[in-house]
């Protein structure tokens, strides 16, 4: 019975496509309200865009910047989603819950470090060329 219900919900259609944008926007609003890291990530995004304009990146380097920015913000949202699911499944303290939340936080950390290192490789040669 559950399988039929799921199959009904998964019907394709333009309405479901438009709804998904609405849900995504709700998710982004929630993440901004309750996660302080989102605020910091957006700040760093603005910083990267300003540096990109100052150092006059070429086309391919802008592409890489866009990928890095999108990656970090998307991962933060996935982290928020996993935390919500863990709280949903088991509101008490439980070792597996701690593992899940810690691993999701580690994923955000790894992505942020990766983006930072890529940014270094992107911007440091240009800064050296400037001086």
């Amino acid at each position: 019975m559950n399988e039929e219900k799921r199959k009904e919900q998964k019907k394709r259609g333009i309405k479901r496509f438009i709804n998904s944008f609405h849900y995504s926007w709700d998710g982004i609003k929630y993440a901004f309200k309750y996660e302080q890291s989102m605020f910091i990530h957006v700040l760093v995004t603005l910083l990267v865009i300003i540096c990109g304009i100052i150092f006059k990146l070429n086309f391919h380097e802008w592409l890489l910047c866009i990928v890095l920015i999108g990656l970090v913000i998307a991962t933060e949202l996935i982290n928020t989603a996993i935390e919500a699911v863990v709280d949903l499944a088991c509101p008490e303290i439980h070792p597996l819950a701690k593992t899940a939340k810690d691993t999701a936080a580690a994923a955000v950390f790894v992505f942020a470090i990766t983006a930072f290192l890529c940014g270094l490789f992107l911007f440091v040669p240009k800064m050296i060329a400037l001086f």
Binding site: T75, H94, L96, T103, A106, F109, F111, I113
Partner: protein, 134 residues
């Protein structure tokens, strides 16, 4: 238990630093318990060695590091999802299988694409280097 809706997290330095300690715990547990992470660690070392030997340009370095970080992060997300699924339903259940398989599929797809990328990027230069040795 406080409902999440009622708590508004203020921007605080202590909370931010706590996030790092959670991430460190997560990394430690992942490296201890998952053998796929050690495989990824060796891949990282091999790719970095290749980049140094073949003298990659900065943008190639950047994209290689991006792919390495992507795979590592995706594996961590896979581990988190597996922990969540085990938390909800420790018994065997078709939806649990769907969840775990899909997450593993994501990591596998990413690894294959990254491998393809590195073959395309380094293949010609590596072949020329090996042929020049003979």
């Amino acid at each position: 238990m406080e409902l999440r809706e009622n708590k508004r997290h203020k921007v605080s330095l202590k909370g931010y630093i706590k996030g790092f300690s959670y991430a460190k715990d997560g990394l430690k547990s992942a490296y201890k318990n998952e053998q796929s992470m050690t495989l990824h660690f060796f891949t990282t070392i091999i790719i970095i060695t290749l980049c140094i030997i073949l003298k990659a340009t900065p943008i190639e370095w950047a994209v290689s590091i991006l792919l390495l970080g992507l795979i590592a992060g995706m594996e961590l997300i896979n581990t988190a999802l597996e922990a969540v699924i085990d938390l909800i339903c420790p018994k065997i259940h078709p939806l649990a299988k769907v969840g775990k398989d899909t997450a593993s599929g994501a990591v596998g797809l990413l690894s294959c694409l990254a491998f393809l990328f590195w073959v395309i990027l380094f293949g010609p230069r590596l072949a020329m280097l090996i042929m020049s040795l003979f």
